[in-house]
Amino acid sequence: MTALFGTPDIAIGMKESVSRLRLFDGPLDLSWRHCATTSDFIADLFALRFQSSRNDYMEVRHSIGYVVNELIENAVKFRAPGEIVIEASMDSECFKLKVSNDVDNENASEFQSLLADITVGDPKDLLIQRIEANAANPDVARSGLGLLTLMSDYGARLAWIFSPADESDRIYLETYASIPIAQTHN
């Protein structure tokens, strides 16, 4: 069975030109440091076209890097062993990202109940409420604060699709993000 959370219309269509990066688990021995190097690389790649304006370049490079880093961090932290696929594309209005990986069944259902909480309401209010709740009860393993920061502070629209994986004890998770790219300076 497939389950969808978040904004359904932001999935990357196959018609667009998509850049794809595949992080293999075995040879890379995926670690925390891969999140930074991979997200910096993607941010550099996509911000290049904004080089004529230093302010735009800094802003776009940072926003792309931040969103990509948070979603790869989540994939590295919560995935079942296996590869992570990162797909990215950009048009004149927004940068789109898709991160795919397997998660185990238990992890998937915990994540789904978190998503049910953090995708309904104003992300700015939800972020502050969850920071307060998390400070009062720091033992919660998955706070959702990273995802709420993307929605609240970066204007990110997010969506998640859970579907059956090839292996029966796993779920295939696709995480979609879209952030507005505004050219503010000429």
Binding site: W32, C35, A36, M58, E59, H62, S63, G65, Y66, N69, E70, E73, K77, L127, I128, I131, E132, N134, A135, P138, S143, L145, G146, T149, S152, D153, Y154
Partner: protein, 112 residues
């Protein structure tokens, strides 16, 4: 007192706490030494604590949560004034630091 890794450095000068580099914490446990350092400043009962973030180029959401938790700690001590110094030149700071003021309206946020 100082915490130094390949990627970031945190240190204390009086009741000022300085951050430098790119801090990408894997979890709140990974931030525990920084939190302990900040709490040690708070427990010395200063009248003012300054977080100087002007050279902190990157902070992931676990790190932002650490700043938020410390802000909530300081909020419990109304006699302690909390000043946060950032810069509009670093995008995460202009986007996310105003949230600290929502948590603790008496906090002084200086972005210049």
């Amino acid at each position: 007192m100082e915490i130094k890794t390949d990627d970031y450095r945190v240190w204390i000068e009086g009741s000022d706490i300085f951050f430098d580099g790119a801090m990408r914490l894997a979890s709140s446990e990974a931030g525990a030494p920084v939190m302990a350092l900040a709490n040690s400043v708070l427990s010395s009962n200063p009248s003012i604590i300054t977080l100087n973030l002007k050279d902190l180029h990157f902070l992931n959401s676990s790190g932002i949560n650490l700043l938020a938790k410390f802000t909530i700690e300081v909020r419990k001590h109304p006699e302690v004034r909390l000043v946060v110094r950032g810069t509009p030149d670093i995008p995460w700071q202009s986007k996310s630091l105003p949230n600290l003021k929502k948590l603790h309206p008496a906090l002084v946020l200086l972005m210049n």
